[in-house]
């Protein structure tokens, strides 16, 4: 099976106007790929369905806004993929 990164990159390419080849591990979803909040919700919906999880976007956003976590922890592609893998592992997938 493709890696979480590859599956998420494909979702982003299919959901937005970003070409697949532009999506790198170090890409920041918002700052580099230009994904806005509405597109990001579409992406999260697709990730939820693809991985059978519920991405805790609200908790992540709250952590970032309060300074408890850097945005890169959740919104840089390789870190996002790692967070998704953790969520999948946590649900026993």
């Amino acid at each position: 099976m493709a890696s979480a990164f590859d599956r998420i990159a494909e979702i982003i390419a299919n959901t937005s106007d970003v070409p697949l080849e532009n999506i790198k591990p170090e890409s920041h979803v918002i700052e580099d790929l230009g994904i806005d909040s509405l597109d990001f919700l579409d992406i999260v919906f697709a990730i939820d369905k693809e991985f059978g999880i519920k991405v805790p976007v609200e908790a992540w956003t709250q952590e970032v806004n309060s300074g408890a976590a850097p945005a890169e922890q959740y919104f840089v592609m390789q870190n996002l993929a790692a967070r998704i893998e953790e969520l999948v592992a946590a649900k026993g997938g």
């Binding site: 919700l41 579409d42 991405v55």
Partner: protein, 154 residues
Amino acid sequence: MRLEYFQMIDRVLELAPESITAEALVPPASPVFEGHFPGHPLVPGVLLVETMAQAGGYLLLSRLNLSRMAFLIGTREVKLRSFVGPETRLTVTAKLVHEGSGFAVTDAAITAAGRRVAEVKEMKFSIRDFPAPELAEAMRVRAREIGLLKDQDS
């Protein structure tokens, strides 16, 4: 329905954890019909979409116990199959497709006398705190009026 006030849902007929069925009776007259269209009154398609959005929204409000608000942010596909004129009795259904973090997705449909009128796939809502206490109170009042909240509910 009070089209000009965007009160699209008149009564909740059935409410389950993941679905809702409601009734909406198109009024015999409305200022909306003066423009849409002269001599040929029709409920505008966007208001049929709004009607389905409100059914989905009330389902979500019920699931949230009216603690937060659901704002429509997009749909994947809309089909408007037939014209809807004054005094048409509409049955509006919505069902939960997905509940995410800070958003939710429903499908919805409208029928009239068993005929398919409109459908929407993957209607997406942003779930947010009420931006004003007046809105929270207005939604609570309206929820009680249409039977979404029972009198004993908070």
